[in-house]
Amino acid sequence: MKACLFTGVFVWVAAVSAIPAAERTFRLPDVPYQYAYLDLPGHFTDGAAQKFDNTPADNPITDAGATLGRVLFYDTRLSANDTVSCGSCHVQSHAFVDPNRFSKGFKGGQTDRHAMNLVNLRFHPRARFFWDERSGNLEAMVLMPVENRLEMGQDLMKLPGILAAEPRYADLFRQAFGDPEITNERIARSLAQFLRSMVSYQSKYDDGRLQARSSRDDFANFTLDENRGKALFLRNCALCHLPDQDAHFVMTEPVNTGLDEDTTSTDGGVGDITLKPQDIGRFKSPSLRNVEVTGPYMHDGRFATLEAVLEHYSNGGKNHPNKDVRVQPLHFTSSEQAALVAFLKTLTDEKFLSDPRFSDPFK
């Protein structure tokens, strides 16, 4: 009887394991989702805010291109053993971060940095990506995790052939690029289009900003605490996190925020890529939009909560020789911290977090 049960389980496991990956199929809407056109509010389209857009002239967002990018983003065939996709570590409900401090790669190995959020990548004016900004544009960035030996481990030489085994890709590539040829360049372009289409612009903050003349006005849809938090943010944080406009809560350059004092044995960030002494300990800062759900925070996910992050800035960080001049002790009181957190939560965009255009089509 026991032998029989064991054999049954073995057969079931073997059968499940043998299901070819190609049978994991995706569903797309009959009428393609709209990605290319966004009805962005005025604070996104004014002169200063528009300058943040890094969309290159030779890879504009198209509906077909971003649709293909969406399928690729969630396709586990982009990993060497068909186990993980981009979406495995970049989870939509968490604004495309991994809610875990570190992510598991295709063989189960752990990364040593927290997966960055993918919110409004289109509006990073320097168009440099990763915590250490080692990628000079989004089109190059998207393939790096795919071929990374720890993350997805895929051989880019083989990838077009692997995808060609899925007959529906031919049609998607044809719609996106005019013919069914699958190349790594096209894979990268469509992934980049999909990432650039992920624009969060419908938060409570955006609703309030639409009704106000200026970000400095109290917003009619905010609570008193949220307006207090906004005022504190504008006075103490906006110089870095909301530079010269009202839409993009993103820093324009990497910064050393005094996370560590040690210059030799801690993560060097940008400095480990450029080897410039002044870059040691500098890191790219992701957008604060949806920051409520993008924890844990910092490049190594060392802070579990927003309160812990604010405590860091309240204390002014550690004395790294490259610490940015703007990181000064802010001495936030507990009431101010609560107001700031209340304001930061107004940057959460529930529509973005559940937008079907960005969801997993394989589910």
């Binding site: 002239a57 004016p125 080692r134 504190l232 990497p254 080897l275 870059d279 610490k323």
Partner: protein, 336 residues
């Protein structure tokens, strides 16, 4: 004729302040050799030496042979091997040192004494470049989101307090400068100082907003005080003495611990404990601004007072209002 140089100076200052931040980089897809070392204006006076960079990298030298081969480097750093000048598929200390040269110090660092560090490169404390401490203090009060009555009552305490602080500091400064420069130079200096301290309240135009509210546009031209002294071409000793006096003045108009305690005590009957705690914390902060040699621009202020006039019998509110926006922020109206 006199307006031409003023206009040019203002234009130059605007250009200097506006230029560095938002230059979008037009990236070419698939250019993997895109130089990762270009980081715009954020170049600073780091004390991290190339030796530390070398020491950092050599922590990856697992076999301690003084050479870093591809397998020893994290994957994200393997592009560094492009700097392998000797062609031995490895990096040695000399090759790392060649890459680890620090960039030149930031130009703006001269106006921001004591500042260093990665990023920024053009930031300083507002009070170092003659931005109004009064505006910071009143802004901190504004951030408390008090009821209009409480706000008015608090301002009636804060403004005279700042008046006293500024008057004492100004008197001390003028006294220190007497004898260091001619009376004409001192008059010129006092005029600039007065403009900066007063918030430059001489309107040059009355504008009407779309919603019909009228506001004044003020001429705002304020070179750093030290630059005024430098423009007098005094002998070095006198220049240094005058600039040292200006630094002391800047420190004096910042409320220090005892000032803050005194002010908070005066506000005891107006603000709650929590509000006083928050106000005290805000006063400890020193606002940062983008640094530049000249502060110039046009600021506006609503012609009508932003709050209702004080009720008869209550303390009068005096002193200039300083706005950095073409109109004052709209606040939620709270019932007392």
């Amino acid at each position: 004729m006199r307006r031409v140089p003023l206009f040019l100076v203002m234009l130059l200052a605007f250009t200097a302040m506006a230029a560095p931040q938002t230059a979008a980089q037009t990236a070419t897809p698939f250019d993997r050799s895109h130089p990762a070392a270009i980081f715009g204006p954020a170049v600073t006076n780091t004390t991290v030496s190339p030796d530390i960079v070398i020491a950092r990298l050599m922590t990856f030298d697992r076999d301690n042979d003084g050479r870093l081969v591809r397998s020893e480097l994290p994957e994200r750093m393997q592009n560094l091997l492009a700097a392998d000048a000797s062609g031995d598929q490895a990096l040695d200390r000399d090759e790392i040192r060649a890459m680890a040269r620090p960039a030149a110090p930031a130009v703006f660092a001269a106006t921001a004494p004591g500042f260093r560090g990665g990023g920024g490169g053009g930031y300083t404390f507002g009070d170092q470049v003659s931005l109004s401490t009064r505006a910071h203090v009143e802004g901190a009060l504004d951030d408390l989101r008090l009821t209009p009555i409480a706000h008015r009552q608090a301002l009636a305490i804060v403004r005279p307090f700042m008046d006293r602080l500024e008057a004492d500091a100004t008197a001390a400064l003028v006294q220190e400068l007497e004898g260091q420069m001619s009376s004409a130079q001192l008059d010129r200096f006092k005029m600039v100082l007065d403009r900066q301290m007063s918030g430059n309240t001489t309107p040059i135009a009355l504008k009407t907003r779309l919603d019909g509210v009228q506001f004044n546009v003020f001429k705002f031209f304020g070179p750093d005080l030290a630059q005024i002294v430098n423009s007098f071409a005094l002998p070095p000793d006198q220049t240094n003495t005058a600039i040292a006096a200006i630094e002391r003045f800047k420190a004096r108009i910042r409320p220090v611990d005892t000032d803050r305690s005194a002010l908070l005590a005066e506000l005891k009957d107006v603000l709650s404990d929590e509000e006083r705690e928050n106000f005290g914390a805000a006063l400890q902060r020193r606002p940062l601004v983008k640094a530049g040699g000249v502060i110039a621009g046009v600021v506006g202020g609503i012609a009508a007072p932003p709050f209702p006039p004080p009720a008869p019998g209550s303390a009068a509110i005096e002193g200039p209002a300083v706005f950095r926006l073409p109109f004052p922020p709209q606040r939620q109206v709270l019932e007392p």
